[in-house]
Structures are given as structure tokens and as C-alpha cells.
């Protein structure tokens, strides 16, 4: 039910995002989702890959400041109000979202959003019992085109 996300600490300057991506590409590792969260000084590159362990090892060996954590993929209707319905449902469950970002679009008019909860395990438990919300599991996630 959970996905592994790789986070890489980068400087906020030209080229700092391209380098870790190149390292992964050279290692033949496919990136499914890539986002950058940044401030004026630094950024965090968040990567979701089927081969996350390999990605982590390759980056660690190259001395990147890298970490792994759990995130949850949720399906959202790709229509006006789709996102707010999901967020309202999460709020009703009392789940605290640390951050979120969009992942895959346009699958049967639905989108997939990635959520980082402060407590992923309890979030997954609550989400499973919630009919308004649909978790995209790892197998389905990586099969989406």
C-alpha cells in the first residue's frame, strides 16, 4: 500500500538537479516521478522509482545526501473539485499531510497524487477503511502509463 520515495538534498543552483538524475540514468534506473521542492537556498529532489533500493545505493555510493521514506499514492478524480474532496476526506480522518504532489495524470480521467503523512502506517490504516479514498498500490502505480 505504501511507496518508497527517495529524497536527495541539492543546492539551489543550476545543474544541481541534473546531476543526480544523470547518475541514475547512467545506472539504467528508470524514474517514474520526479519533483523538486525548493527554497531560495536549497532544494529536495523527490524521486519515485520501481528500483528504489538500487537508486538509493547508487546515490549513496556517490556521496549524495539521500534518504528513503514511505509515501502513499491516492487516486483523485481529474475534475474540478476532485482534489478538494480528497483533502476533505483526509481531514475528516484527522490525517496530517506533510506535503503532496501530483504524479500520473490522465488515466481514465483520474490522477494520482503522492501524499507524505507524518505517520504513514496509521494513515494507511485509516485510508483503507475509508470508501471515498482509493489507495494506488505499488503494482498498479508502476503499471500506469
Amino acid at each position: 500500500m505504501k511507496l518508497k520515495q527517495i529524497s536527495v538534498f541539492v543546492e539551489n543552483k543550476p545543474g544541481s538537479v541534473g546531476y543526480p538524475c544523470k547518475v541514475l540514468a547512467d545506472a539504467g534506473i528508470n524514474i517514474t516521478t520526479l519533483t523538486l521542492a525548493d527554497t531560495k537556498d536549497f532544494g529536495i529532489l523527490r524521486i519515485i522509482s520501481k528500483n528504489w533500493q538500487e537508486a538509493y545505493d547508487v546515490l549513496k555510493a556517490r556521496k549524495f545526501a539521500v534518504s528513503v521514506n514511505d509515501v502513499v499514492a491516492l487516486e483523485v478524480e481529474n475534475t474540478p473539485g476532485g482534489l478538494s474532496r480528497v483533502l476533505e476526506a483526509l481531514e475528516r480522518q484527522g490525517l496530517n499531510v506533510e506535503y503532496m504532489y501530483a504524479s500520473v495524470f490522465g488515466v481514465h480521467n483520474r490522477a494520482v497524487l503522492i501524499f507524505r503523512f507524518d505517520d504513514t502506517d496509521s494513515a494507511v490504516e485509516k485510508l483503507a477503511g475509508c470508501p471515498d479514498l482509493k489507495i494506488v498500490d505499488s503494482e498498479l502505480f508502476f503499471s500506469l502509463k
Binding site: 537556498d41 536549497f42 529536495i44 549524495f64
Partner: protein, 439 residues
């Protein structure tokens, strides 16, 4: 008492009264020698109305004029030599980043004394025959390489003279030769450990157990990092070319200050402003007199290092006095917005924060309105996926620096391996304030 006693270190354990007698005899002799052979110094003594025979007790050393680094530059190259060149068997020189280098010369006997002090330093760090010591100090004009080399060799340990550089090969040799100890700058050793990790090796798995680190000031926080990274016991060794080179003093196994080989290097602490001699225990500038070096004696040489003398007996049994670790060097000090700052203070502040790596540099710039900015770049380890966590870390660095220095610094956190590594002494401070194009 006298744990791991080695006859090489006999002079470390002399009764204090006997040691003082030896010091006085040597001081009287060296002052007479200097007065006779070095006109520059004789003139200064004459100006003060001091003659060698006025030195009747150790306290009378206060009658003598000081020497400073400037004197070495002004008399470049051989103006302070007190022996004929035919009796000088070796010359060393500083790199001289600004202006003329400083030159030091040694007679055969001077070299013997230097080697004996280096041997005593190695023994204090628990090194002996059977040890294999990698000497990664630079060989050449710098005193570190040859100084450590002959100490190791004469002690009967095996020296691996790798000098600095070619770090991957150094890692390989360290493992393949079963090296048990290393001599280098603390910065270079950290670089070496990191290089090993990149090669898929962990220095903690190697037989190496001891390191003698010197040639640059380093902090207790840095010791913890080094010991955590490598598993070696880290000893602070002190020396300076003007005295001889490495082996003027070293920590014993108690790691509570550095024993000074004061039968050869007579220490004083002075108030740097008034030049008054301060009692043991009070902090001030460290001043040395080389009481048994004849080719180029240094009388009351002002080191610019700030410390105090510890005269309480040490648990190791040595009777030679200790100085507190030198974390502040007047030469390294810079002033930002009217506040005196030492790089070691910044080091302590940064390494006190969890998540920091022992690599940092300080950038000083001047804004168009004339105000100075201090930016501290520090490498951080991984483990973050939230911006909030990173911002909290940045705030922790900022508070830690402000608490210790009393001024605000801009903290720039950078990924590992961003700050250039040094193969010798680390350059920490980059002052661009007089260089507006580099802002």
C-alpha cells in the same frame, strides 16, 4: 604511574627541580651563544642593557627581548643563524603565502634533539617498534614530513612515507600494509576516511588504531568525528617550524592538554597586549625559547597561539608541564562587525549540531553599504525529505553560531563533497572584503 614506560621518554619524568636546573643551564648557554653570534639580537639586548650573565634564574628570561615572525622575514634568509653554514645540515622553509618565506636551519645536534622529541611524542601516543606508521605529512620544505619520518624510524617503528596526495593509493596501502598509525593533518585524515568509504572500504575495519594529528588547530568536536569515522584514538600533536617542527608537545593517553618537551622548549604565557609574563593557569599568548637549538635559536618567540599552562601533575606520571589544546591562533582570527572570530569557534558551533559533516568554510564579503557579511557553508548528511526539517536544521546552525560568536551568520547548507578537500592544512576562511569584484 609510568604506564607503558619507554626509556626514550626518560626526560618526560624528571623530578621538577632537576628539570628546572637543566632548563636554567641550557637557557644561560643558549643566550650566551645567541648574543655572541647573532648581531641583530645582540643589539636588541644591548638596547635593553641586558647581558647574558644577567640570566641567573629562569625568571630572568623576562629580561630578554621577544622575537616574532616578522624578525624571521626581516632577516631572510640567514640573518638569525647562529652557526656557520658549514655546521648547518638542513634547511626548511614555510610556503610563504604572503611575502617572503621563513627559513629555519639545523645543526646535526639540532636534528638529533628534534628527532628525540618526535620519538617521545610517538611514545606518548602509544607507538613503538612493531607499529607501521603512515606518514601523510607533506615531505619537502615543510617540516611535517621529514620531522615525523625520522622520529618514527629512529623509534624502531616502520614508516610508510606516503607524503600527501594520491588519496586512493593511500587508502589501499593503509589496508594492504596493515598500517597501525598515521601522522597527518586532521582534515586530511577525514578526507582519507571518506575516500575509503567511496571505494567501498571502512577504515574502522582496518588495523589502524592511533593517529597523531597536527599542523592545524582542531577542536574536541572534531576529535569525536574523527574517532567515530575511523575508530582510531586521536592525539593532538603540536609543533611549529620556528621551534623545530612537529614534536614540540603532544597529548598523552589522558587527552587533557599537551605535554611540552620543556627540557628543550621553554614555555611562557604572556599578555599579548602588555607582554607581561602571566602565571601558570592564566590564558595568554604562548611564547617559546629553544633552549637546546644552536644553528638558529629562537629566544622568547611569540607563537601567536592562545592557551594556558597546566602545571598540575598529570595522571600519566609525566612531570613536564602541559598546555591546554590550542584552539585559537591569533593569526587565524578575523574581525566581523567589530567581533573577534576564530575559525575553531565556528567549527565547534557547527559540529555541535547533529546532521553536520566536518567540512565547512567561512566566506566574508562586504556589502555596498560597508557592512560585513559572514556566510558559513557547511556540509550536511542525508536523512531529510521535508523542507521543514531542513529549515529547522538551518535554524539550529544559525543559533549555535550566534550563541558562540555573538553575531549572526548566514548559514548555507550544502550536500556532501561540495566543499573542496585539502591534502594538507585546510583553508577555512575566504575573505573577499577587500576584493569587491568577488562579491
Amino acid at each position: 604511574m609510568m604506564k607503558n614506560y619507554n626509556p626514550v621518554s626518560a626526560q618526560d619524568y624528571l623530578p621538577r627541580e632537576l628539570l628546572k636546573q637543566i632548563q636554567l643551564q641550557r637557557l644561560q648557554k643558549i643566550v650566551a651563544h645567541e648574543y655572541e653570534h647573532v648581531p641583530v639580537y645582540r643589539e636588541r639586548m644591548d638596547e635593553r642593557g641586558v647581558k647574558p650573565e644577567h640570566i641567573k634564574t629562569l625568571k630572568d628570561i623576562a629580561l630578554l627581548p621577544f622575537m616574532m615572525k616578522k624578525d624571521l622575514r626581516d632577516t631572510y634568509p640567514f640573518g638569525l643563524f647562529a652557526m656557520e653554514m658549514s655546521d648547518v645540515v638542513r634547511l626548511h622553509a614555510s610556503s610563504g603565502t604572503t611575502g617572503k618565506p621563513i627559513v629555519v636551519g639545523y645543526s646535526k645536534e639540532d636534528i638529533d634533539v628534534w628527532v628525540s622529541c618526535m620519538m617521545r611524542a610517538l611514545v606518548a601516543a602509544g607507538v613503538g617498534p612493531g607499529d607501521i606508521i603512515q606518514n601523510s605529512y607533506g615531505y619537502g620544505l615543510f617540516t611535517g614530513g621529514l620531522g615525523a619520518h625520522y622520529g618514527i624510524e629512529n623509534l624502531g617503528a616502520t614508516v610508510v612515507p606516503t607524503s600527501g596526495g594520491n588519496t586512493e593509493r593511500q587508502v589501499m596501502l593503509m589496508r594492504d600494509f596493515g598500517v597501525t598509525g598515521i601522522t597527518c593533518t586532521p582534515t586530511y585524515f577525514i578526507h582519507l576516511c571518506e575516500k575509503a568509504l567511496q571505494m567501498g572500504l571502512d577504515v574502522r575495519d582496518f588495523p589502524i588504531r592511533v593517529g597523531l594529528f597536527g599542523a592545524e588547530p582542531w577542536t574536541e568536536e572534531m576529535r569525536k568525528r574523527i574517532e567515530g569515522l575511523s575508530g582510531v584514538e586521536a592525539f593532538d600533536i603540536y609543533g611549529l617550524s620556528e621551534m623545530s617542527g612537529p614534536g614540540v608537545g603532544i597529548e598523552c593517553e589522558c587527552h587533557s592538554g599537551l605535554h611540552i618537551f620543556e627540557d628543550h622548549f621553554y614555555p611562557e604565557i604572556i599578555d599579548p597586549d602588555t607582554c607581561e609574563v602571566l602565571p601558570d593557569g592564566e590564558e595568554g599568548e604562548l611564547v617559546f625559547t629553544t633552549i637546546s637549538k644552536y644553528a638558529m635559536p629562537m629566544i622568547r618567540y611569540r607563537t601567536r597561539d592562545i592557551t594556558h599552562i597546566i602545571d598540575e601533575p598529570c595522571a600519566c606520571g609525566r612531570t613536564i608541564r602541559r598546555i591546554a589544546r590550542i584552539s585559537r591562533r591569533s593569526d587565524d582570527m578575523f574581525i566581523v562587525r567589530g567581533v573577534n572570530v576564530f575559525p575553531s569557534q565556528v567549527e565547534s558551533a557547527l559540529l555541535a549540531v547533529e546532521g553536520s559533516l566536518p567540512h565547512y568554510r567561512i566566506l566574508l564579503t562586504r556589502r555596498p553599504d560597508g557592512l560585513d557579511n559572514m556566510t558559513v557553508e557547511v556540509e550536511i548528511s542525508g536523512g531529510f525529505d521535508k523542507i521543514k526539517t531542513l529549515e529547522e536544521l538551518q535554524a539550529k546552525f544559525s543559533h549555535s553560531v550566534e550563541r558562540i560568536l555573538g553575531i549572526h551568520a548566514v548559514i548555507k547548507m550544502v550536500p556532501p563533497n561540495t566543499i573542496p578537500r585539502s591534502e594538507g592544512k585546510a583553508r577555512r576562511v575566504f575573505d573577499n572584503r577587500m576584493n569587491p569584484t568577488n562579491q
